[in-house]
């Protein structure tokens, strides 16, 4: 998931990759940089999302060099959309593109399966997201501080991990704002805990 706050964006994801019910990687990194201050959350087919991310990273890099400035988040998300839309019959990729640029500040763009591109104050994706729509809708509000935002995403991802078999492991977070990028990790034995029932 990714959330816009007053100064930038906060992104969070679990770390589980599965082949069926086998956990192929329990410490995966689903928050992938495609530029210095633009990241994507990857869900769906790992192969497809890695391919898309690598391609967009290359084109964005070229674009940034040509421009001589930090590329815009809306440009990055647009490139993702192009690939996802025109190959919609072959890709199974749900991406959330979020970051910070000097023109529009923090932004979150959702590019789900099918290739629609939608800007949202916050976005959730992946199989575990279905379990936290209620929690997110009830607890999100505009102009959250960084700490409020971090607590929001950590709780949300923890709740999803507790119920979804395809989610689990550790919670990785990325904070992007004008000052830079900060990455963090909450290990699986230190997650926020809720009802055990």
């Amino acid at each position: 998931m990714a959330v816009e706050y007053n100064g930038g964006v906060v992104m969070a994801a679990d770390s589980r990759t599965t082949t069926g019910a086998y956990i192929a990687n329990r410490v995966a990194d689903k928050l992938t940089p495609i530029h210095e201050k633009i990241y994507v959350c990857r869900s769906g087919s790992a192969a497809d999302t890695q391919f898309i991310a690598e391609n967009v990273k290359y084109w964005l890099d070229m674009h940034g060099v040509t421009l001589g400035e930090l590329p815009l988040v809306k440009t990055a998300s647009s490139l993702i959309q192009r690939l996802c839309y025109y190959n919609k019959n072959n890709f199974m990729a749900g991406m959330i593109c979020a970051g910070w640029d000097p023109v529009d500040g923090g932004q979150v763009f959702s590019v789900p399966i099918g290739g629609v591109r939608v800007r949202q104050p916050f976005a959730v994706g992946g199989s575990g997201s279905t379990y936290i729509y209620g929690y997110c809708d009830a607890n999100y509000h505009e102009n959250m501080t960084l700490d409020e935002c971090l607590e929001f995403v950590q709780n949300a991802v923890a709740l999803a991990m507790a119920r979804d078999g395809s989610s689990g492991g550790v919670i990785r977070t990325t904070v992007i704002n004008e000052h830079g990028v900060e990455r963090n990790m909450i290990p699986g034995n230190a997650l926020p805990r809720f009802s055990e029932y």
């Binding site: 019910a21 086998y22 410490v27 119920r163 492991g169 034995n189 055990e196 029932y197």
Partner: protein, 240 residues
């Protein structure tokens, strides 16, 4: 093709053990059954003083971790334990069936008590009969106990296939845990070591099976009887 008769709450439809569950409808296109609320691996190992089994306490609904405090271990008589994976509604029906048998045994009060091997044998017959009607109890069962003072560990599944061994595991446990259990097993295994290898195996399964939770129950059978532990949470490592 006749429509299947709806099972109402008339006790006569339920007392007869043949009528406990659904039967395969006469239309072949609807014969495919599938498990709905399921349990994952059950592990078992014999040791010096008896036998120990364990399972987590999750009832999955597909990929949803729906029921998180379900006990998949059940005591059978005085010296046997049953652990189940697969469909939990079928497990509950089997338990009801076995409890009825235990009540009848209590009422006979003739000193004859079914032992672990006899429970295993009975379950085998029930499972095979249902598979032959193409209406299986969709379970993989581990029966553990003491027979004439010696540890017993048996496996029986939805096909009616059965076997005995010193170490057993169902589900992903068969692939991931069984080699670990086999390496650790020897005839004079101490209880603490049996418990440790089961814990270590459950930890690996929690790491690698996407249908587990970190809440585990242990059951053991010794000369002192049957004991099912309280649920336990395992330590895990994540700093990679």
């Amino acid at each position: 093709m006749q429509a299947e008769q709806l099972k109402t709450l008339n006790p006569n439809q339920y007392d007869n053990p043949d009528n406990i569950g659904l039967h395969a409808p006469s239309d072949p296109r609807t014969k495919t059954l599938r498990p709905i609320v399921t349990g994952t691996s059950v592990l078992g190992i014999k040791y010096k003083d008896g036998v120990m089994i364990c399972a987590d306490t999750l009832g999955s609904y597909g990929s949803l971790a729906r029921f998180r405090q379900v006990s998949r271990l059940h005591q059978l008589g005085e010296h046997a334990l049953l652990g189940a994976s697969g469909d939990l509604s079928d497990f509950q029906m089997l338990v009801e069936n076995l409890e009825t048998m235990a009540t009848k045994e209590y009422c006979w009060d003739d000193g004859s008590k079914l032992n672990a091997r006899e429970y295993w044998s009975y379950l085998t017959r029930v499972l095979y009969q249902r598979r032959s009607k193409v209406d299986p109890y969709w379970n993989q069962l581990i029966i553990a106990g003491l027979v004439d003072g010696k540890p017993f560990l048996g496996h029986a599944d939805l096909h009616g296939t059965t076997y005995e061994d010193s170490t057993l595991a169902t589900g992903y446990g068969a692939y991931i845990a069984r080699p670990l259990l086999r390496d650790a097993y020897h005839e004079n295994l101490e209880e603490a070591d049996a418990r440790k290898i089961l814990e270590d195996s459950m930890r690996v399964l929690f790491y690698r099976d996407a249908r587990t939770i970190n809440r585990v129950e242990f059951g053991k059978v010794t000369a002192d009887g049957v004991e099912i532990s309280d649920a336990v949470e395992l330590d895990t490592e994540w700093d990679f």
